[in-house]
Symmetry: C2
Subunit: 218 residues, 2 copies
Amino acid sequence: MAKKQTDSIADDLEAMILEGVFDDNQRLDEVQLAKRFSVSRTPVREALQRLTQAGLVEQRPRRGVFVRQPGAIELLEMFEVMSELEAACARYAASRISDEALEELREANEKCEQAVREQDPDRYYLENERFHHIIYAQSGNGFLEAEASRLYRRLKPFRRLQLRLRGRLRQSMAEHESILRALTDGDADRAAGVMRQHIAVQGDKFHHLLSTLKTAAE
Amino acid sequence: MAKKQTDSIADDLEAMILEGVFDDNQRLDEVQLAKRFSVSRTPVREALQRLTQAGLVEQRPRRGVFVRQPGAIELLEMFEVMSELEAACARYAASRISDEALEELREANEKCEQAVREQDPDRYYLENERFHHIIYAQSGNGFLEAEASRLYRRLKPFRRLQLRLRGRLRQSMAEHESILRALTDGDADRAAGVMRQHIAVQGDKFHHLLSTLKTAAE
DNA sequence: AGTCAAGTTTTTGTATACAAAAACTTTGTC
DNA sequence: GACAAAGTTTTTGTATACAAAAACTTGACT
């Protein structure tokens, strides 16, 4: 039993916020949360400090804590940063990747291909996640890997959604192949460039999706 | 008066950790800190949760919180990430920067030049900081700007130290000129490349510095 | 009805209380 | 003297208490 109370409450709340359980600007009631987790306010408040630092929540003095959901612009910005972090991973991985990891990437890609054939976005997403995380790890830079993973977690729900757009699965697949080729060739610049595009396009797609939704709602 | 207690304690502690007031692995005594800040343990513990999330401190269950100072390898890794974030800023800024900002960069550079002539590393560092932050802002991406600034804060003491190496001031200056030219030309790839090198070399210098120090100590 | 002030309730921020775990001290044994 | 077991102190994690600020309610006045 660790310092679990605060830890697990923070984890649970983070997951809930990322899953979109709370609306933007929704106030989180300490007392209510304390009841729900069957603890006192103390560990809840400590967990909320963590979320504050992570930027998932905002504290307004003497008012309470409020959920922060990214809007269209911030989301696009986050995808831009994600694209740069992943491009960096690919760049370093190009010279540092091991043969075993290249083999794993090939395997992941084959399973992705299978998922494409079966039109199974969930399955695709699972293997796609593996593909990307292998590259994070193969950057040979633990700090970069951690930062990339952190932002990945944050964007996961949106990356997932975007895959349901028509034709996107196939296109994504082709980009994976291209990335794998660049890594196999050990071409750092090409790997970085292709990866950057691969992620940036997701942000663009998503942004486009949001704006059409918004126009439709008016 | 805001939610100041927790906030300002967190800020103070962060500054102290970054300044190297505490050793790596040093335990932070809640009671002692509470006394020092003339508050109870509660706000201190909340501040420590923030530092935990920021990665400045590690919590071992039932043992306490311990300061985490990056070692040589982690530092090099952080410089690599910094180089990529700043390269990204330069890349976006190349197409998004305003004429006024370009003028400000020129001004900052001139003041840097003056500091080089006067052999004044502190003055140089001040203007250098301005130079870099203008580029963060001109990336036109608030999230990227925030992430770059965050890591900048973390590395600031080390970036600073590295400037005292012989010839580094002059070299750094030349790189600034080169970055400015690329931005003026609107050449995104060149701006990114030069910036990446400009930062990465700092990490290398620092890493080299540390290894020679370590070898000398043995 | 709408507005505003006084009073009431809720909620936040901080201090304190307390149990359980860890660290430290003492004392007895070989 | 080295070691170990029992007891003592310290420290952590959590609950609770309480004051001050904010939010809400009520009722008088225009």
